[in-house]
Symmetry: C2
């Protein structure tokens, strides 16, 4: 997957004029994505961002380049898998972060478009991010096993689902974020589900 | 919520001509829902079902009547919350059923439309079903607590999310159903998360 790689090398100096241009273009793209317009037509991106088409074409020769960079921009604030030194606080950190991400309007729109299967390129790019993040999440579980805080026989992929899926589910079905109380309950259940067996 | 109630009293004799008419109309509606056409325009329902508009108008005066009955028809094969006599087999039964439901094309289309927020009437009707089912699922957890198989301090709403959400999540993000192995892992984790504490 080239997506996370290309996103990792910023092409502009942070804070400079070109950084401001890039941010305008990215925000216009995210607006379009939130409205389900995954095609990101360059004319419309130019209109909304106030950046001229020539510049956009030069920096992002294709709509796929725009889409990949817009998704990179969207997830830029997402931290790596936490490493707080303890399983319970790692679980709490990750669930809290995912709960807030899943309730974000841009993310909801992306999920809605993904499930519509209308834009294979979007699903492909998003699955690229997911596959890129997954080893880091798995490593977080491995560290807990190494410290004796999680049982070595748990299936990391399903533990990950247990942490990720409820936030997505309440966002999809109820249009809301998990509450603090729900996060507490979920953290407790995940820790109990993964605790080493003592008998 | 009136939706599940009205769905509970069939207006036609099973197996008769009117039952066949109803089934044709319902299948046409589910086809339209799968294509994201939640408005269920009566002219198009008539075309696809081969049932004339007069009959459709007489039985279903509004598109909302059609939508509610189509959703009732869609979930008709869904069993009630299981009561196998043991927590682990109840959990397995429910997760297996929900995994197959979440991967169903009609259900996927409904979820996609729900998350798009384009049709509040659909979200409203689906949440009606969900609220109707939820007490039965909670009762299943209560029975397990009563038998001493589940800890009385678990949060039933979050236990339910743990059982429901992974199937929805892999259907949304990966366009597939949970595998048998994933179901086994998830059942084991749910049982461990909910097991009574012995110390």
């Amino acid at each position: 997957m080239g997506v996370p790689d290309s996103a990792a090398k910023p092409r502009v100096r942070p804070g400079g004029r070109s950084e401001r241009v890039r941010e305008s273009v990215m925000r216009a793209c995210l607006e379009l994505l939130t409205e389900g317009k995954v095609e990101l037509p360059i004319a419309e991106v130019a209109d909304r961002s106030g950046v001229n088409r020539g510049t956009i074409y030069r920096w992002w020769p294709t709509s796929t380049d725009l889409l990949n960079d817009a998704l990179a921009f969207h997830v830029r604030h997402r931290a790596d898998a936490p490493d707080t030194g303890a399983w319970e606080s790692d679980v709490r950190f990750l669930i809290t972060e995912l709960a807030s991400l899943a309730a974000d309007p841009v993310e909801r729109a992306i999920i809605a478009t993904m499930i519509s299967d209308r834009y294979p390129s979007l699903n492909h790019a998003m699955m690229g991010w997911y596959r890129n993040d997954r080893p880091h999440w798995f490593a977080m579980i491995e560290r807990a096993i190494g410290r004796g805080e999680a049982s070595p026989d748990v299936d990391p992929a399903i533990v990950l689902q247990m942490m990720l899926a409820p936030a997505v589910s309440v966002s999809v079905f109820e249009g809301r974020a998990l509450t603090h109380e729900e996060i507490d309950s979920l953290v407790a259940l995940v820790c109990r589900a993964t605790a080493p067996l003592h008998n």
